[in-house]
């Protein structure tokens, strides 16, 4: 048998979620296996490979065989992969989720994806500037600095049709132009990496998997608007992203892509990382600026927009991580190539964090204009456990729930907005028939209520009142008129708040009332939670015909609420029952009935 150990290279996805799934242990297992067998097979790390539902992921790329991706890899499987694939030259097909030259089921996850932002994610070592350069990195910057004027760059950005990926969708080229035209020598560029929407991890994955792409985009923006200083405002909860960013800054400085007289162009630019301290409202640009200045992160009235008066009162351009990551690709490949993707008003691609009740959850990048249905059912593989799709939540706490009747809409800024939801930054949480829409609305409102900075009365007090009503409804004490009161308050908060947080905080409530009013009514008037989620509205009983008295539920109950003789039917004391669901999960005979 020929020794193929050096004709393969092994790459392991070591982003936060990979590590959480045990990728670091798998990495170590490969290292040990190679050491013990004296193999010199290269062992590399990469960022998010994207198939989060299959973590930990291991890529084995072999000359002549191509790339094989193994999913859900355990340390026990490592020896076999090394033995059969790396030494023997025969992939272990039963562990594989993706194989070059052979179509496996998971290939459907990639069929509709177009990876521009995620062009390097999962392929290169994010801690290696050489690998980034080898993959075409810093070509955009080189082109921008040596072949293009700032005006031409702004024009290219306008032609590309790229719109801000943080959620609001303001045309990026127009934003840059506004900052560029401001008088003055001192200007700033900022990366908004304060990804705060619960259920969204696009920016984390880009920062962890391809930090240089963001840095390169930022530097191009700085050149275009004439800024010599930049900040990356990163969420404190993303320690790995912060570490990799700092490393990327140091490396690119050393190579002359940052610092003084970049690539001999005479243009100088410096970047520093600012770590957030935990405030969702700092995702709003004026609040973010206040935070960098060392103040409480409270938004202020616009205009003046940051383009005119931003950080330290100087013209400032702020875009989010994904927006900047698009820039080098657009400059390298041209505006027309980018605008070839998407719809009339929304060009290019969008990265979504597809999660919730979905078969293939992960980080997906699709062209604008694809339908929600295609993303959920073709890319994501639909709903697990044979359950029924109910709604998809877009845009996190600022967004809304889109029900089945609207999931054939094309994904673009305008179509999504028409449903009452927003494009948002890319959180896409899928819900099935076991998800209670009132509970979800309450969940988001609790979040925004907690994160309201308190500046505007309607946001501060209004969200509190709404939350009280929702608490009441989900605990079985809803009153007549509560639903109408929620609508009324919601509309007032939207119209009377200064910033995006308050203006959008009622969205999750308003959209769920719009599409699932019957569920609200069931809670309020019938004291019933149709999805069986709101605990105070549930009762647990044991069906005496199905119960065989095995005592499993008695042992599972943490509060001693189940009683009964062995081999005789058991009973639940509803006074003691805390509705923790342990008995139902323990029962093997479906004898525990929840209603």
């Amino acid at each position: 048998m020929p020794d193929r150990s050096t004709s393969s290279k092994v790459t392991i996805g070591l982003s936060s979620c990979g590590v959480a799934a045990g990728a670091a242990q798998v990495y170590e297992a490969f290292r040990r296996e190679f050491d013990e067998r004296g193999l010199s097979t290269p062992l590399r790390r990469t960022g998010c490979i994207g198939m989060c539902y299959r973590e930990p992921l291991v890529d084995v790329d072999t000359e002549g065989l191509g790339r094989v991706t193994y999913g859900g890899v355990t340390t026990e499987q490592v020896a076999r992969i090394v033995e059969e694939h790396i030494i023997g030259g025969k992939p272990v097909e039963e562990f594989a989720v993706r194989m070059e030259g052979k179509r496996l089921e998971d290939e459907a996850y990639y069929d509709r994806q177009v990876r521009l932002v995620l062009r390097n994610a999962g392929l290169i070592d994010p801690e290696s500037i050489d690998e980034y350069i080898e993959a075409g990195g810093y070509q955009g910057l080189t082109k921008a600095l040596t072949e293009m004027t700032p005006e031409e760059i702004v024009e290219t950005m306008k032609e590309s049709g790229l719109r801000g990926r943080g959620g609001a969708g303001f045309p990026t080229g127009v934003k840059w132009d506004l900052a560029r035209q401001q008088p003055g020598d001192v200007k700033y560029v900022i990366v908004n990496a304060d990804e705060g929407d619960p259920g969204a991890f696009m920016d984390r994955s880009v920062l962890e998997g391809d930090p240089h792409s963001v840095l390169e985009g930022l530097t191009i923006a700085a050149y275009a608007i004439g800024a010599s200083e930049g900040y990356i405002y990163a969420r404190a909860e993303y320690p790995l992203a912060v570490r990799r960013l700092k490393m990327a800054i140091a490396d690119s400085q050393e190579r002359g892509f940052l610092g003084d007289d970049i690539l001999g162009s005479g243009f100088s630019f410096r970047v520093s990382v600012k770590e957030g301290a935990g405030a969702f409202v700092c995702g709003e640009e004026t609040a973010l600026i206040a935070s960098i200045e060392g103040q409480r992160g409270m938004p202020r009235l616009r205009p003046p927009f940051p383009a005119a008066k931003g950080l330290w009162g100087k013209p400032t351009n702020i875009n989010n991580v994904e927006t900047y990551a698009n820039v080098p690709w657009i400059i390298t490949n041209g505006a027309a190539a980018y605008a070839a993707y998407g719809t009339e008003t929304s060009k290019g691609t969008k990265v979504f964090a597809l999660t919730g009740k979905i078969v293939r959850g992960g980080l997906v990048e699709v062209p604008m204009g694809i339908t929600l249905r295609d993303v959920i059912f073709e890319v994501g593989g639909g709903i697990p456990d044979g359950r029924k799709f109910k709604a998809v939540q877009l845009g996190g706490p600022s967004g809304g729930c889109v029900p089945e009747e609207h999931i054939d809409i094309k994904i673009d800024y305008e179509s999504v907005t028409k449903t009452g939801a927003i494009m948002g930054s890319g959180g896409m949480v899928v819900m099935d028939d076991r998800t209670c829409m009132v509970d979800i609305a309450r969940f988001f409102l609790q979040f925004t209520q907690d994160e309201s900075c308190g500046k505007c009365t309607f946001c501060r007090v209004g969200t509190k009142r709404m939350l009280e009503i929702l608490d009441r409804i989900t605990s079985g004490e809803g009153r007549e008129g509560d639903i109408e009161r929620l609508e009324e308050l919601g509309k007032q908060i939207v119209s009377s708040s200064l910033c995006g947080l308050g203006q959008s905080a009622p969205n999750p409530v308003l959209t769920t009332i719009r599409y699932f009013r019957d569920e609200y009514e069931a809670h309020v008037y019938e004291k019933r939670c149709p999805a069986l989620v709101c605990k105070p509205l549930l009762t647990y009983e044991i069906d005496p015909d199905k119960c065989i008295g095995c005592t499993l539920c008695v042992r599972a109950c943490p509060v001693g609420a189940v009683s009964g003789e062995r081999k005789g039917p058991h009973v639940i004391d509803t006074e003691l029952c805390t509705k923790c669901d342990a008995c139902r999960k323990a029962c093997k005979f479906e004898a525990v009935i929840v209603s």
Binding site: S16, C17, V19, A20, A21, C52, Y53, E55, E195, G196, D197, P198, G199, A200, F201, R204, A236, E237, Y238, K274, E275, G276, A277, G278, A279, F280, S291, I292, E293, G294, Q295, R296, G297, M298, W312, A353, T355, G356, K357, G361, G362, Q393, G396, G427, V429, M431, T435, I440, F443, F444, F447, E451, C453, P558, G560, C580, D581, A582
Partner: protein, 172 residues
């Protein structure tokens, strides 16, 4: 909050840590937040006496320091446990049953959300999102992340984390 009256509430070591950090940041603009982050990283939390010392040394009014510190959720005014258990309450985790995970962990230790166990070993801290949504529901103990949990598994993990702790914390 309790006013521990000046530097009396802080040890000389802590005060010298503060003095060093304030000096390090003295020349940079917008340094208040990174300065507080650094102090908290080294001392563990921001007691009143420490904030007063920062004010005294940096010339920033105490009201502004407390204003900033109280605005951001990262800053703490109470000491925390040896290990911090972050329970993700993000959307994906919520949909996958994070509420039951929080309940199980709090019940295991007999503390409320945000509380610290009596022996000072664990603080249970709910967080908005850890960004590992496809592994929901997720908890993070210090730097270790655990995903796809059931309430029973969560209980086992926190019970066995680090050195085994005595059984006293769990309610019947």
């Amino acid at each position: 909050m309790a006013n521990t009256a000046g530097p009396g509430g802080a040890t000389p070591e802590q005060l010298s840590i503060v003095d060093r950090i304030v000096a390090e940041f003295s020349t940079s603009r917008g340094a208040l937040i990174p300065m507080l982050q650094q102090v908290q990283a080294e001392i563990g939390y921001l007691p009143y006496a420490i904030m007063e010392r920062i004010a005294e040394r940096s010339g920033v009014p105490p009201a502004r320091i407390f204003g900033v510190a109280s605005f951001y959720s990262q800053f703490r005014f109470e000491p925390v446990g040896l290990h911090i258990i972050r329970v993700c309450e993000g959307t994906a985790c919520h949909v996958q049953g994070a509420v039951d995970i929080v309940e199980a962990i709090c019940d295991e230790f007999g503390v409320a959300e945000g509380g610290t166990t009596e022996d000072g070993k664990f603080t249970v801290e709910p967080v908005a999102c850890l960004g590992c949504c496809s592994l929901a529901p997720v908890i993070m103990i210090d730097e270790d992340t655990f995903g796809r949990l059931t309430p029973e598994q969560a209980r086992d993990i926190v019970r066995n984390y680090g050195t085994a702790r005595d059984e006293g914390g769990a309610k019947a």
